[in-house]
Symmetry: C2
Subunit: 265 residues, 2 copies
């Protein structure tokens, strides 16, 4: 008998970049992934609404006997992690903000860190707070880059239009006299744009995405051996077809719409 699957949830498909990193780190574990596609995006919604949605999504996963919960959404990590951890103290509950902030603080040479994310993540200030807690002398610059989400969902990872958008968001920082030395991709949609972003920001910069760091932190909390059959169950609150089409871009492997179970929260 195994300890149960690892539950992962996100507002939609972006969190599949985190699932991918988790599976690489814990290949034997079973996973249940829930994308709250009927109510996405969380990134433009208020803290109370995001917290309510996150609790409902986590409840649905908990009812499937998960042994750990990963909040694979930066906005929900920022607003709801404390509430989720308080509700289920008996299992590890891990978000993506703290691991991403910790990785940025470790990798930054001079503590000059830039963070990009959705409107709600940036306005909520969770990255700014986490970085300053770990490295009080850090200079932290932030910017909401909402159009990046649409680009990533459209699959425009590397086109003139995508480059023009990336330039509009980032050029002033990186063409300026004091460019940041570290850039945190503070939205699970953004890792698929890493190649494009790298062309704007140059090779010197440390580019941090929280997917792999979150996977490492969870693996450490669960111990070296997580048993299971290596299975993944996909749940979504709307649109199996779109979940599969757009999701495969983030997961990095094809996804069958028939394998996506629609649930009501």
């Amino acid at each position: 008998m195994t300890a149960g699957p690892i539950g992962v949830f996100d507002s939609g498909v972006g969190g599949l970049t985190v699932l991918r990193a988790l599976r690489e780190r814990l290949p034997d574990a079973d996973f249940v992934y829930l994308g709250d596609t009927a109510r996405l995006p969380y990134g433009t919604k208020s803290p109370d609404t995001v917290r309510r949605y996150a609790l409902q999504a986590a409840e649905a996963l908990r009812s499937r006997q998960v042994q750990a919960l990963v909040v694979a959404c930066n906005t929900a990590s920022g607003f709801a992690l404390d509430a989720l951890a308080a509700r289920w103290p008996e299992i590890p509950v891990e978000g993506v903000v703290e691991p991403g902030a910790a990785a940025a603080c470790r990798r930054s040479a001079h503590g000059d860190i830039a963070v990009i994310g959705t409107e709600a993540t940036i306005r909520g200030g969770a990255y700014q707070d986490a970085i300053r807690r770990l490295r009080p002398d850090a200079r932290v610059r932030v910017r909401a880059c909402s159009v990046f989400v649409a680009l990533a969902e459209e699959g425009w990872f590397d086109s003139p239009a995508a480059e023009a958008v990336a330039r509009a968001y980032l050029a002033d920082w990186f063409d300026g006299p004091e460019p940041p030395d570290t850039l945190v991709l503070g939205c699970t949609h953004f890792p698929v744009l890493a190649g494009l972003i790298r062309r704007i920001v140059g090779d010197e910069l440390a580019l941090v995405d929280s997917a792999s760091t979150t996977a490492a932190v969870l693996a450490e909390r669960l111990g070296p051996q997580v048993d299971g059959g290596g299975s993944v169950t996909f749940l979504a609150t709307d649109g199996a077809e779109r979940f599969a089409t757009v999701g495969s871009r983030f997961l990095g492997t094809p996804l069958d719409p028939a394998a996506v179970e629609i649930v009501d929260l």
Copy 2:
């Protein structure tokens, strides 16, 4: 005693372009505008979900004694108009798809019509059906332009990045040997991008947005005289601050967050 306000609803703030056209056409009427911002966007959701949300939004407006209902959202017009009209046969229920399709058919010289909209609007086929009903010999080309929604919400109406995105979506049609003679802006977010789009598509083309045509159709249904105090009540399901900031871009006049009432559907 007046006949009650005119109810207008949209998934978010895009429908404010329709409200603006309605107020120009019916300056004395009172309006109640509802933006379902907690659940936006509708444009990536399934028909059943959109229909359910639209019925709930319309129910909230009907409880405020509206004398007419305008579905200022292309996706909801395409999926939910029949259900709404069947539920409230005693009042006019008007969507934006039919008026937009009718205007396109009237203005197209050769019946070569292109329609752009959200994923759900285009996939649902409501514009294609409406145009072919009115003009069976029309050639109809369609394309989902999801990134336009993000550009419009970001306020990038006229920047190199916005132009690169518009070029990516439209250039092949309009640089090709047989460009369409009419382009329908089949999403209420798109009218604010009209100037930008015009630069890509050229001056010859008829550019149709359904806001003004919907206002004309409703004015005709209600008769020449609609009394009231010219007031507007703003309701939203989430985020008064963001509704006001982003909404003012679509309404064309400043909006006070304190004037936006948050309601639960």
